[in-house]
Symmetry: C4
């Protein structure tokens, strides 16, 4: 009896923490989201020196409060799941642990507290929570479009990477290691800043040849910024058309052509 | 008789001020547009110090002139509408009030006049005025495309926001609070400047690790700038195709599939 | 006899200068292109101080040489056309005149020679010349796509313009006329630099509120850069589809739906 | 016998070095890739001064090691191919030679070693190697899309080039050769930096007119960045549609409409 009771208690806890289709589950998710955002805001404000000097002790207490709450949440997650080790080793399990460890480390190691910024990674839980609401189809749409265009984007990125290494190296020669082009890695950093049209201006060509090569790179960057856009737009249009025609597109591998009554993708076995 | 006269006078005024399909209405709208633009130009010029010292008194007189005209317009709008409170509490009513208040406030509070820049918000009336001309279908087209892609854009923006918070926090750790990365909010500001490819260069990484992470961010920014473009292009192509096929798309919620004889959207009740 | 001879001479000259489907016409166009580019390169090199001091006299002679040639060309154009005034008042006639006037002006006015840079405008003739070659369909394609999307782009630009005026004015208030935001026009200039993701960094927000608003603007700029791309891509896809289906699209107004045997656009009368 | 043996040995070597469908060929390609990347990393690290002073001699030995390996590879390539001169004069043959020459040159000429950065060009071999794996269809797709849009992109680039020359020249006049606009080429460099939205900020307009023209240029750049994107997206969508319909698109000239049983492109003769 007691064991059954415990199991039902555990199962209800699991439903509340891991799912969100019950009122309690929704309340838990919203509360968690608020705590995550609050804890990040506190870490942020504490990093501003003038605030740190004035309200440092308040932030200190709050940070320990959040650490306590997140530790409690971590423990509840552990006891309410069947295979706790699976959770601990999962991506979100790792991030959840990362969010509480720095506080405890700071007792032994001075400065470990600054690692609290890693708590920002917990923000990613937002998508987990949103996933279960009415944004599902939009997330699915974006996911499929990106998955199917990944290979093309990868090749494109490889081309750009080769380009910045080659052009960065050449600029190192041309500017003769001066004007900020102090080493090849620095020149490659400059080439990336230029080709992505960010253009900080912390390093900029000074010699005429350097300016000419830089101009060429900008034109190249201007032209090829169109390529990833073209790839993704084409895939999105394709995904949208598929969906309209009622054809299933596999969310796992992005391939189509499944039978009407198919339940699993015939290429990668993902549940359709 | 007098009352009927007054009513017909009020109704004609309403037509002139609020609509623009009569010659008087068009003249009013064009005159209003000219006054709005002129008043904004005067505020602009007055903000340039050398002009302020030389022509300050001229601008002063002109500003009061515009304030008088806009006050008159505001009053006419109030008396020619059936439910004046509805106008006062509406978006444009609020902006119209915001355009005249600073002048009167400046009598009591020194410096309140600088709030006159809020007059720039009146520029938004341009779209109200244009709406009634032959740009209607284009505005409608852009509106539908943006409304239908809003959800996808929102999710995308959430991803980017999480990304800049996480990467900004990590850069704060990496650059150790130096080289402009003085606090987490500042580092996040830098991350936004970088990922949107604006790249002021007021804050730029100095350490090798910082430059490496920054390069990574630029590549990410370069790749994902394609996502909103893909979303909006796909929706626009969809809207254009719908329109060509004579299918109605609801201007309110962007959904389609309405019957040929439908007058209201069957999903949100907007007039088709 | 003499008159007929003269007329035939004039007509042959016209063919050579204004058209390019004869060997002589092609040779003239290519020679003209080489002279235009050479003259621009000379003006460019002359603007570099070190070159000016060393080769200034060579450039001087060459500039007068080009001026002589272009004057001769201008005269030949005048005498070989039926209505010389029409040419003089045309766009290209005006630019052709602009290319030779500064040299003659420099005799009377010191420094007028610097206006020679306007010769760069003659580069636009390149498109005139290319128009008659095998790039015709591509130019037509781009032209139709841009003409049909002009209205939507115009509205979009109006939105962006209102946005930068409003946000620039607000930033002037927020940064309190300091940190480079010295006047509203300067703040609007900064807003344009930011929203177009150029980001010089000559003016950058310093206050926390300023940075927050700037971050907001960058996100807006990031999102809406997708709009013109979406508009033009949609129109291009449309133009491409039309062309494939053999339907004529008017190069003048971009509208379609003409009859198979139509010679003129039924909407604007342009030759199809 | 010996000769046949030699030939078969040569043919097997050719298979290993030039192809990658045998286990030995794959191993060779992967090893080559690792050596190329390692050699580039060594050149990179050696360019950082602090590393150069500490590990300079280690890098020196490694560079000679890589030079030896690449020389051996070059020789093997020479003896295993039927027409060695064809390889020597080919694009990749030239780059392969360029990768080993600087080391030998450095014996005679001081500083020639810095040309080792040209080894980065060998990175391009990555695509040769990848070409033979499962990325083939994606590379083909990108290639066809870019080839077919090349003409339109060329015209677009010509327009942008004319624009930056004209606007750069005008800015030189407006800013009067000051504030970094010291010559027309420098002003054109600035115009390119601005219109491609890179925006270093090393040169920035100071005068009111200059800022106004710069703002105009940014708006133009903002608008026309959409053009190459539109061109490439349209071509990609077209290529994707063709492929889906099973129609062959020539990888050489990008034209379509080939017969089902066609083996060569009927327009340019490329193998389909």
């Amino acid at each position: 009896m007691d064991k059954a009771n415990f199991l039902s208690w555990q199962s209800r806890l699991h439903k509340t923490i891991y799912e969100s289709d019950t009122p309690a589950g929704k309340a838990f998710d919203v509360a968690l989201l608020i705590f995550i955002i609050s804890s990040i805001i506190v870490v942020m404000l504490d990093s501003i020196k003038s605030y740190h000097y004035r309200y440092g002790h308040v932030f200190y207490v709050m940070e320990w409060g959040f650490t306590g709450l997140f530790t409690l949440e971590y423990m509840l997650r552990l006891i309410s799941i069947k295979r706790p080790l699976g959770y601990v080793l999962s991506f979100f399990g790792f991030i959840d642990l990362l969010a509480i460890i720095p506080s405890y480390l700071s007792i032994f190691i001075v400065g470990a507290q600054s690692l609290l910024v890693l708590r920002a990674l917990r923000l990613l839980r937002v998508f987990r929570i949103f996933k279960l609401t009415h944004f599902l189809t939009e997330i699915e749409f974006l996911k499929i479009s990106l998955v199917t265009s990944l290979k093309k984007i990868a090749i494109f990125m490889l081309v750009v990477l080769s380009l910045v290494i080659i052009l960065g190296s050449i600029m190192y020669l041309v500017e003769n290691g001066e004007n900020g082009f102090t080493s090849i890695p620095d020149s490659i950093y400059w080439a990336i800043v230029t080709i992505t049209t960010v253009g900080y201006g912390d390093i900029a060509p000074v010699t005429a040849t350097g300016k000419f090569i830089a101009s060429l790179m900008m034109f190249i960057g201007y032209g090829i910024i169109a390529v990833p856009t073209g790839i993704i737009t084409t895939e999105m249009a394709n995904t949208a058309r598929m969906k309209k025609q009622g054809q299933e597109v596999c969310p796992g591998c992005g391939r189509e052509g499944h039978d009407k009554n198919a339940v699993y993708c015939k290429f990668c076995g993902t549940l359709l």
